[in-house]
């Protein structure tokens, strides 16, 4: 399947099934509605085959270039069929399962994620482990031919909806830092797991605390080898900082269009709009190049931190422009459309915090790309 053929076919199919695919809510919808909408869209696109292109056949895919699935994400976002931040989790978690899970496990599980039957979450951060991932303490110990996990995760997106979790655990000593970490694939309905959503300032409680109290995890749910968890994390992060962002670039472009349409005449400063337009365009240009590098077999690494900084900069600049152009809609209006602008403005404040803070990205750029050496 070539990209042009895929694009034409998918666009035609999305047009033909527009009613069936459309979300049942106005504005952004509540979180559970968004999650249900994504599952629905995934199921429909999987059954029609579109969702399967760009994934290897051993996990239920049809093969073909990763650009195909990038275009799918773009098309679904541009048509406002899915919330891109939530939908792109698939793009973050599935590649790592394919690389690190035992082939039999990946073959069973990945199709469930792709077809919308299951939701997964990513258990990385902990109360004492934000930017310094190597210091995590959620412990897994050997027991009964498997693992028992005790500890706490936080900022786990969508854990309240998740069937599985890609979990980083401490299996060595704390002093072993990044060497003593092991990744596990955990069933979220296992006894001993408690999920508590965290109230978030943008009104969408997608982040959670997750507590593990002596949770049994079978040996065959180990991702990679014992002690290889850091490699798993380092494999995920470039995806989180690059390919998953293509969809977010399409979202920013869409919201920029909608801002221009929604703002009262004269409310948008031309110079500020010109700058935001360039920031969004440059980010999308960078992201496009990254997609092509991945599709041609390139390894993604530290340079994806540049993609992430560019995205965060463009996103915050866009919503600063929204705040300047429509301050009253953000401040006092309460209809679903305005509530969505308000929520997205507030969420954009986190763009320099989540997925590796702006400071961490700049540390990576300084050390790995500029060769400035260690900072201590």
């Amino acid at each position: 399947m070539e990209l042009d053929e895929f694009r034409r076919g998918l666009d035609g199919w999305l047009d033909a099934h527009a009613d069936e695919l459309a979300p049942p809510y106005e504005g952004a919808g509540a979180l559970d509605e968004q999650v249900a909408q994504i599952s629905k869209v995934k199921r429909l696109t999987f059954d029609a085959g579109w969702m399967r292109w760009g994934w290897p056949d051993r996990v239920g895919g049809f093969g073909g270039s990763t650009l195909l699935r990038a275009y799918l994400g773009e098309a679904l976002t541009t048509r406002e069929l899915v919330e891109p931040g939530i939908a792109s989790l698939t793009e973050v978690l599935a590649p790592t399962m394919i690389d690190y899970a035992r082939p039999e496990l990946a073959a069973v599980m990945v199709p469930r994620l792709l077809c919308g039957e299951e939701n997964w979450c990513q258990g990385f951060s902990e109360p004492g482990t934000g930017s310094n991932l190597g210091s995590l303490t959620c412990r897994a110990v050997r027991a009964d031919g498997g693992w028992r996990v005790t500890g706490q995760k936080v900022w786990t997106s969508l854990a309240q909806f998740a069937d599985r979790c890609v979990l980083l655990t401490r299996t060595g000593t704390v002093e072993s830092a990044h060497r003593g970490i092991t990744a596990l694939f955990v069933d979220m309905d296992a006894p001993g797991i408690t999920v508590r959503p965290i109230g978030s300032m943008h009104g969408v409680d997608e982040f959670c605390e997750v507590f593990f109290d002596d949770v049994a995890v079978p040996e065959d749910r180990t991702l990679g080898d014992e002690g290889q968890g850091w490699a798993v994390a380092m494999d995920i992060l470039p995806y989180e900082r690059s390919t998953a962002l293509w969809q977010r670039g399409a979202y920013l472009h869409r919201r920029l269009e909608e801002l221009i349409a929604a703002a009262p005449p004269g409310a948008i400063d031309a110079g500020a709009l010109g700058e935001v337009t360039q920031l969004v365009y440059a980010f999308r240009a960078r992201s496009r190049a990254t997609q092509h590098r991945l599709a041609s077999g390139g390894q993604l690494g530290a340079e994806t931190s540049i993609d992430k900084v560019m995205l965060a900069t463009a996103e915050q600049a866009l919503f600063d422009l929204v705040a300047d152009a429509m301050p009253l809609q953000l401040a006092v209006a309460d209809d679903p459309v305005d509530r969505r602008w308000r929520s997205e403005y507030l969420y954009s404040r986190a763009a320099t915090i989540y997925g590796g803070s702006a400071e961490i990205q700049r540390n990576i750029i300084a050390r790995r790309l500029l060769g400035l050496g260690d900072d201590r």
Binding site: E257, T277, Y281, E359, D375
Partner: protein, 312 residues
């Protein structure tokens, strides 16, 4: 199209020409290298390579004239009058007495017997250089060798059209030159940060310094990405955005690198100040980043939509 080996060979030749020669010798060396042939065969590789290296080496040449002439499809041996510094409108205004000219040109271009001048209707006129007043610009960066061109003259002939495309081609070339200069500034600041020891360690170990340099690299790569997309897309709007993005990147690079270089970067003993001068003036050629950004904003408002990104 040049293949990878040919591109590398071309880059090595340009690098050598830039390093060994100064002033008009550069143009002779580039001519010997066959730069205008490369421009015909593979404009993207030729322009991006030559102008980035020109920016890095802070050399002045007549290559921008060649780029604009080619985009105009002009078969004459002439210089090109660009809009006055800071302006982006065509440099000529048609009136009863002929064409009123107010613009700038390269020194090498003005040494030609004829100059091409575009007017607001986007017609391009051939005017005898002798009929116009030409004087060095001087100012912040005399080594760029720009001259101011003014006067009123009757054009010898007019060729229709092509000015919009020529401006776009020139903006891409200048964008690459600005990016090259910004990369040189970043290298100077990086080397200094690794060598300069204070409080018993290289200042590169201080996060305040590291983050300035990281931010500089991000903005340079953003400009580079915009330039690459503009080559793929080949529309005047993307070229405008790429030039403006490059200019802003250079402004940021100037601020951060100056701060990291601190005292030594303020002296004429250090090459940094030459780059500061160069990018400031290059930003004013064919529309400043500030002016172009506002122009873009107005056109986006008028169109009701931002320019689309070319497909994946």
């Amino acid at each position: 199209m040049m293949d990878a080996d040919e591109r590398e060979l071309f880059a090595a030749g340009v690098r050598a020409a830039m390093e060994r020669h100064a002033g008009s010798d550069v143009d002779a060396a580039l001519a010997e290298l066959g730069w205008t042939d490369a421009l015909e065969v593979d404009p993207r590789s030729a322009v991006s390579t030559l102008f980035e290296l020109q920016g890095r080496a802070r050399v002045a040449s007549r290559a921008l004239d060649d780029v604009v002439l080619r985009a105009l499809g002009a078969a004459v041996d002439a210089g090109v009058v660009l809009p006055a510094l800071g302006a982006s409108d065509p440099p000529g205004t048609r009136g009863p007495d002929g064409v009123t000219v107010r613009g700038v040109a390269s020194g090498a271009g003005a040494a030609r017997t004829a100059l091409l001048v575009a007017t607001a209707d986007h017609e391009v006129h051939v005017i005898a250089t002798a009929d116009l007043e030409v004087r060095p610009v001087g100012g912040l960066d005399p080594s760029l060798g720009l001259v101011e061109v003014r006067g009123v003259a009757a054009p010898a002939q007019a060729d229709a059209g092509g000015w919009t495309g020529a401006v776009a081609a020139g903006r891409l070339a200048l964008g690459h030159e600005i990016v090259g200069a910004a990369r040189s500034m970043l290298e100077l600041a990086r080397d200094h940060a690794l060598q300069r020891v204070q409080f018993g360690r290289p200042i590169a170990m201080f996060q305040a310094v590291r983050h300035r340099l990281a931010e500089t690299l991000v903005s340079i790569e953003a400009a580079d990405a915009a330039l690459a997309a503009a080559w793929d897309d080949a529309s005047p709007t993307t070229a405008l955005m790429a030039k403006a993005t490059s200019g802003r990147a250079a402004r940021l690079a100037t601020r951060h690198c100056q701060q990291v270089l601190a005292g030594i970067g303020f002296t004429t003993e250090h090459p940094f100040q030459g780059y500061l001068r160069r990018v400031f003036v290059l930003d004013q050629l064919l529309g400043s980043s500030r002016g172009l950004t506002a122009e873009l904003g107005r056109s986006v408002l008028a169109a009701g939509a931002p320019p689309p990104l070319l497909p994946l």
